[in-house]
C-alpha cells in the first residue's frame, strides 16, 4: 500500500511544481500580487510531497519490502540497517529521488530565507526552480519510477547492495555531492530571473552570492569524500583517476569557483555582469551534464547503474532544452546591460578576470578530455580513451598558474594597483616562499621541476594569504583589535585560499614522493617501503554479518619499533558471491601507511600492495578548509542586515574587507 502512496506523492509534487513554474511567473509579469503570493506555499508543498515519497521509499528499504523492484535490486535482508538506509540512494531511481528531494529542499530554503527580496524577483526565482523540478520529476515518473512493483512474484530476498557501496563513504558522499550540484540550480534561477526582468545589478549579485558559495562548499566536500572513498575502498590507494565520472563533478566545481569570484566583482564593482550570468548558466548546465554522464549509462563505472537508452535520451533532451532556452534568453537580454565602471590594468578586477580565464580554461580542458571519446564513439569514429597523462600534462600548468596568480592577486586593490608598490609588497613573501619550498624539497629528498612548482605554488598562496592578513590586521589599538575588525567574509576567503594551498601541497607531495610496491609475500616475510618495514605475520579467516573474509595481519616497523598493526581483508560476500578488497590504513596527518591483500598466488603466498603516502590527508583537509571558508563567508553580517546602512563607495583600500556597501554603487 505504502509504495503506491509514495508514487501518488511524487505525482502530486509534479503537479505543484508545474503550478509553481507558471503561476508566480505570470503574476510577476502581469503585476498581480495575488498570483505571486502562491510562490512560497507551492514551494513548501512540493518539498513536503517529495519528502513523503522519500520517506516511503526509506520505509520500504528498512522493512525489507522486496515487492518493490528497486528495493529488491538494491537491498537484502542480511544488510545492516544503516546500509539499508543508504541503499535508498545506492541505485539509479533512488539517487534521482534524493536529487529531487535536495532540489525541492533548496527551493524551500530560497522561499524561506529571502524575505527581503522584492516579490517580483522571488516569484521568478521560485518559478525557474519549479521548471527545473518539473523536468526532473517528469524524468523520474516517466523513466525511473522507484516504486515499481514486482507483483505477484515477490522475490524472497533482495539481490543485495553492491559491496563496493556498503561503506560509510556511500552514506555521505552522494548527499553532499548532490547538495552541491543542485545548489547551483539556485544560482541559475537567480541568473534567469535577473535576465527575465532585466535587473542585472549589484543587488542581484549580492543575493545569489551566498547561495552559490554554499553550493560550492557542499560540492567541495562531496568531491573530497568521493576521492577519499575511492582511496580506501576502490582505488588500491589512488585518489583521483581522471575518470569521466570524477570529471563530471570537477567540471561544475571549476566553473562554480570561477562564478564565485566573478560574482564578487559584480557585487563590489558592478562589472562583468553578462559574464557572471553566463557562468551561472554554464555552471548549472555542467551540473546537468554531470548528471547525464553519470546517470545515462554512457560511461563504464561504478556509478553507471543501468544503461537504459530511454533515460539517456530524456536527460539529453532536458540538458539541451535548458541550455538552448537559457542561451536564447541570454542572447536577447544580456546586451541591455551597460558598464560604467573603470579599472586599471593591474586592478583586482583584472586579477579576478585572469582567475576566471584560467578556471574556464581548466573547465574546457577537462570537458574536452572527458567528452571527446564519447563524441567519437557516438559518431562511430572509433573507441578511444584519454587517460591520466593527458590531464596531468595539461591540468598541472593551469593549477600552478592559478596558484601563482592567486598570491599576487591577494595584494591587489580594486580599480588600480600601483605596480611598484605591488612589486615591493611581493618581495618578502616571495623570498619566504622560495626558502620554505626549498626546505620542503630537501626534507622529502629529490628535486623534480613539477614537484618544486607545485610545492612553491602552495607555499606561495599560504604565505601571501598570511602576509595580507598580517597587513590588514595592523591597528593602532593592537593586533587583536585589528584581527577582530576583519569581516567574516574576509576570513572565509582566507580559509578558502589556505584550503586550496593545502590541497595543492597534498596533491604534489603524494604524487611525487609517495611509494607504492606490489610484492609477493608468505607469512613471515618482511618487505621494505621507504623507511618502513612491513612484517607479514599471518592470514586467517573472519566472519562478518554478511561476508567471510581472509584476514591478514601486518606489523609495520620503523627503526626497530612497531608503529602500527594493520589488518587488511579480502571479503567474500554471501549474496552474489562478489569479492572485495578492504585495505587497512594507518592514517596520519603527515603520512598514511597502506596495506591491501591481492589474490592468492599459491598455497601460502599472496600478492600484497604496500604503500607510503605522504600528506595524502591534506588533499581532503584542504577541501574541508575551503568548505569551512564558504560557510564562514555566508555568515557575514552584510547578508543578514535588513537595511544597508550608509553606503560607502568602494574606492578605499579597505573596500574588499568592508562589511557592507560597495554594492549598488554602479548600476
Amino acid at each position: 500500500m505504502y509504495p503506491e502512496l509514495g508514487q501518488l506523492a511524487l505525482i502530486l509534487s509534479l503537479l505543484l511544481a508545474a503550478l509553481l513554474s507558471v503561476v508566480p511567473l505570470v503574476g510577476s509579469l502581469t503585476g498581480r500580487d495575488n498570483l505571486q503570493a502562491f510562490a512560497r506555499p507551492l514551494a513548501a508543498g512540493m518539498f513536503v510531497f517529495v519528502g513523503l515519497a522519500f520517506a516511503v521509499l526509506t520505509h520500504a528499504f528498512l522493512t525489507d519490502d522486496f515487492s518493490v523492484a528497486y528495493v529488491a535490486n538494491n537491498s537484502n535482508s542480511m544488510l545492516p540497517w544503516y546500509y539499508k538506509f543508504s541503499a535508498v540512494w545506492g541505485g539509479h531511481e533512488g539517487s534521482l529521488l534524493l536529487w529531487i528531494l535536495m532540489l525541492t529542499g533548496w527551493t524551500l530554503a530560497v522561499a524561506v530565507f529571502s524575505r527581503r527580496l522584492p516579490s517580483v524577483m522571488i516569484s521568478q526565482v521560485l518559478s525557474v526552480l519549479g521548471m527545473v523540478s518539473v523536468g526532473f520529476m517528469l524524468f523520474i515518473i516517466v523513466t525511473s519510477n522507484p516504486f515499481d512493483r514486482l507483483l505477484p512474484n515477490v522475490p524472497a530476498d533482495g539481490a543485495d547492495l553492491n559491496p563496493l557501496l556498503q561503506d560509510f563513504g556511500l552514506i555521505v558522499h552522494p548527499p553532499m555531492l548532490y547538495m552541491g550540484y543542485v545548489g547551483f540550480a539556485v544560482a541559475f534561477a537567480f541568473a534567469i530571473a535577473a535576465l527575465i526582468n532585466g535587473r542585472l545589478d549589484a543587488a542581484w549579485a549580492r543575493w545569489s552570492r551566498p547561495w552559490t558559495t554554499v553550493a560550492w562548499a557542499f560540492l567541495s566536500v562531496g568531491i573530497a569524500l568521493g576521492s577519499w572513498w575511492a582511496y580506501y575502498e576502490l582505488g588500491w590507494g589512488g585518489w583521483w583517476f581522471w575518470d569521466p565520472v570524477e570529471n563530471a563533478s570537477l567540471l561544475p566545481w571549476l566553473s562554480g569557483t570561477a562564478l564565485m569570484h566573478s560574482l564578487a566583482v559584480t557585487e563590489k564593482r558592478g562589472v562583468f555582469k553578462s559574464w557572471t550570468v553566463l557562468l551561472a548558466i554554464v555552471t548549472f548546465a555542467l551540473s546537468l551534464l554531470g548528471t547525464f554522464l553519470v546517470r545515462s549509462g554512457v560511461l563504464t563505472s561504478v556509478h553507471a547503474f543501468a544503461s537504459d537508452p530511454e533515460r539517456g535520451t530524456f536527460l539529453l533532451a532536458l540538458l539541451a532544452f535548458t541550455i538552448i532556452a537559457s542561451l536564447v534568453l541570454y542572447a536577447f537580454r544580456a546586451p541591455v546591460v551597460h558598464v560604467r565602471s573603470r579599472y586599471g590594468s593591474l586592478s583586482r578586477e583584472v586579477f579576478l578576470l585572469l582567475n576566471n580565464v584560467l578556471l574556464v580554461s581548466a573547465t574546457l580542458l577537462v570537458a574536452v578530455g572527458t567528452l571527446y571519446p564519447l563524441v567519437l564513439d557516438f559518431l562511430d569514429l572509433g573507441k578511444i580513451s584519454i587517460g591520466e597523462p593527458f590531464f596531468n600534462l595539461t591540468f598541472s600548468p593551469l593549477a600552478v598558474a592559478t596558484g601563482l596568480l592567486l598570491g599576487v592577486g591577494t595584494f591587489s586593490r580594486w580599480k588600480k594597483t600601483d605596480a611598484g608598490w605591488l612589486a615591493r609588497k611581493l618581495l618578502w613573501p616571495l623570498a619566504l616562499s622560495v626558502l620554505i619550498s626549498s626546505a620542503v624539497m630537501v626534507g622529502y629528498g629529490g628535486f623534480t621541476p613539477w614537484a618544486f612548482l607545485g610545492i612553491f605554488s602552495a607555499v606561495w598562496i599560504a604565505t601571501a594569504t598570511f602576509w595580507d592578513l598580517w597587513d590588514k590586521s595592523s591597528s593602532r589599538k593592537g593586533r587583536v583589535h585589528g584581527l577582530k575588525r576583519q569581516s567574516r567574509s574576509y576570513y572565509g576567503m582566507v580559509l578558502g585560499h589556505l584550503g586550496i594551498a593545502i590541497t595543492m601541497a597534498g596533491a604534489t607531495v603524494v604524487s611525487n614522493y609517495g611509494i607504492e610496491r606490489d610484492v609477493r609475500m608468505v607469512p613471515g616475510d618482511v618487505a621494505e617501503v621507504g623507511d618502513y618495514q612491513f612484517v607479514f605475520v599471518d592470514i586467517g579467516e573472519r566472519r562478518g554479518q554478511n561476508f567471510t573474509a581472509q584476514y591478514g595481519s601486518f606489523d609495520v616497523m620503523r627503526d626497530g619499533k612497531r608503529i602500527a598493526e594493520l589488518h587488511p581483508e579480502k571479503r567474500q560476500y554471501a549474496v552474489g558471491m562478489s569479492v572485495m578488497t578492504e585495505a587497512d590504513i594507518d592514517a596520519g596527518l603527515f603520512r598514511d601507511i597502506f596495506v591491501a591483500v591481492g589474490e592468492r598466488i599459491s598455497d601460502d603466498a599472496w600478492a600484497i600492495r604496500l604503500q607510503y603516502k605522504p600528506l595524502i590527508r591534506w588533499l581532503w583537509l584542504g577541501a574541508l578548509f575551503m568548505a569551512a571558508g564558504g560557510f564562514l563567508a555566508i555568515s557575514d553580517r552584510r547578508y543578514r542586515i535588513r537595511e544597508r546602512s550608509a553606503e560607502r563607495s568602494g574606492n578605499s583600500a579597505s573596500s574588499q574587507t568592508g562589511t557592507q556597501g560597495a554594492a549598488g554603487v554602479v548600476s
Partner: protein, 157 residues
C-alpha cells in the same frame, strides 16, 4: 582609442590568449595520449600498432590463466571467440578478474604478438560488461560462424 573600447580589447585579448594556450596544450596533449581500443581479432590480423599504448579487451579464456609462483607475473589469453591474444601482466589483478569474465587491458603490443599490459580493468559488478568488450564480442559473433560449445554467450549487459 576610446578607453572603454581599449578595455574591452584587452579583455578580449586576454580571453583569446588564454583560450589559445588551452587549445594548444590540449591538442598537443591529446595527440600524445589517446589510447585506441582493439579487439583480439584486429590484433591477430595485425591491425594494431606495435609499441604504442593501446587498449585491448575481451573475455579471459577458460583455463588460460598461468601464474608465476615466484613473482606477481600472470599470463592469460584474451579472446573474442574468433581469435585470442596472449597477455602478460605483472602486478595485482582487480578483484573481479576471473576466467570467463570480460576485461580491458592497457599496454603495448610487442613484436612477438604478446600484449604487455600495465593495467587491467575488470567490470565493477557481475551484471556489467565493459561496452568495448560487449561490442567486440558482438562483432566477432557476427563475423565468425562457429560458436564455441559450452562457452558463455556474450550477454550484453
Amino acid at each position: 582609442m576610446h578607453p572603454i573600447r581599449k578595455k574591452r580589447l584587452t579583455i578580449v585579448l586576454f580571453l583569446l590568449a588564454g583560450l589559445s594556450i588551452a587549445v594548444a596544450l590540449t591538442t598537443y596533449a591529446l595527440r600524445q595520449n589517446i589510447n585506441l581500443f582493439y579487439d583480439p581479432s584486429q590484433i591477430t590480423a595485425g591491425e594494431a600498432p606495435l609499441d604504442v599504448r593501446i587498449r585491448a579487451g575481451g573475455m579471459v579464456e577458460e583455463g588460460s590463466v598461468k601464474r608465476d609462483s615466484e613473482s606477481l607475473k600472470v599470463e592469460f589469453l584474451v579472446t573474442d571467440f574468433n581469435a585470442s591474444v596472449p597477455v602478460e601482466y605483472v602486478g595485482i589483478l582487480p578483484d573481479l578478474f576471473a576466467e570467463g569474465q570480460g576485461i580491458v587491458a592497457m599496454g603495448k603490443l610487442n613484436s612477438e604478438g604478446r600484449f604487455v599490459a600495465d593495467q587491467i580493468l575488470a567490470k565493477h559488478d557481475e551484471n556489467y560488461m565493459p561496452p568495448e568488450v560487449a561490442d567486440a564480442l558482438e562483432k566477432a559473433s557476427l563475423t565468425g560462424e562457429q560458436s564455441m560449445p559450452g562457452s558463455a554467450q556474450p550477454a550484453t549487459n
